[in-house]
């Protein structure tokens, strides 16, 4: 185990616990705060993997913007408190399916790499490299995404504005 792996293990542990708390919390605002923790941890993982630009985008966009959106969503809709109010009747099935997917994925990763699989030697991820790739190779998808965001913006406005007509 290298030093980086220890740091990763701590991060992963915090991330896993907060993710589980996120889907089990009895209070929606607590759930949102656990989401902040989980997203920050994922951002930390990006930084640890030397993907600095993606890491900071994760912090800025997810933690900064999307969580705020969620909080607004919670504020605008009356959210009750309590397990029965927040969870439905198929918790058991859901747990089994989640476990099945986890098992399946672990099985697949095992089969592909084994426990002591290859070590990552982070080599790419600076903002300069990302910018080069984004604006040389992927300009068209980039513009398409910007258009998608615009459409989403307009769509959100249209959907949520009050219809004044009788």
């Amino acid at each position: 185990m290298t030093g980086q792996e220890y740091v990763f293990a701590v991060l992963a542990l915090v991330g896993t616990i907060s993710a589980i708390r996120l889907v089990t919390a009895k209070n929606v605002v607590h759930a949102a705060l656990y989401l902040v923790v989980t997203l920050s941890v994922v951002g930390g993982v990006y930084l640890l993997l030397a993907a600095e630009f993606v890491g900071w985008v994760q912090i800025l966009i997810y933690v900064g913007a999307i969580v705020i959106l969620f909080l607004f969503g919670l504020m605008l809709t009356r959210a009750p408190i309590g397990r029965e109010a927040l969870d439905n009747q198929q918790r058991g099935i859901a747990f089994l399916i989640g476990l099945g997917i986890l098992g399946g994925l672990v099985y697949l990763i095992q089969g592909a790499f084994s426990w002591s699989g290859p070590r990552l030697r982070p080599s790419v991820g600076t903002t300069a490299q990302l910018g080069q790739s984004l604006f040389r190779q992927w300009v068209l998808p980039f513009e398409a995404v910007s258009f998608l965001l615009l459409a989403a913006l307009i769509g959100a406005v249209v959907l949520s504005r009050r219809d004044d007509r009788p």
């Binding site: 792996e5 896993t16 607004f72 990552l120």
Partner: protein, 100 residues
Amino acid sequence: MIRLPLVLFFSAVLFSTGVYGVLARRNAVLVLMSIELMLNAVNVNLVAFSQFWHDITGQVFALFVIAVAAAEVGIGLAIVILIYRNRETINVDEVNLLKW
């Protein structure tokens, strides 16, 4: 010098947790949060493999996924608010008009 499987396992855990959340939560906003969890798991995979193959493209796509996720949350919450305005509830199991 992190071993690749460790990162992938973390991603798998996040994903399965997200799946559980999507299936078990009644509150539509919490369902959306769980979907974010799954998207993040995918992003972790993309970044990890980007470093594995020394190819920046994975991170470019992680950025695209983040942008699409932002759009999805925007529209999703708009729909949730619309449902709330019409039905006084955002419990997804109570929005079940489309059935026999």
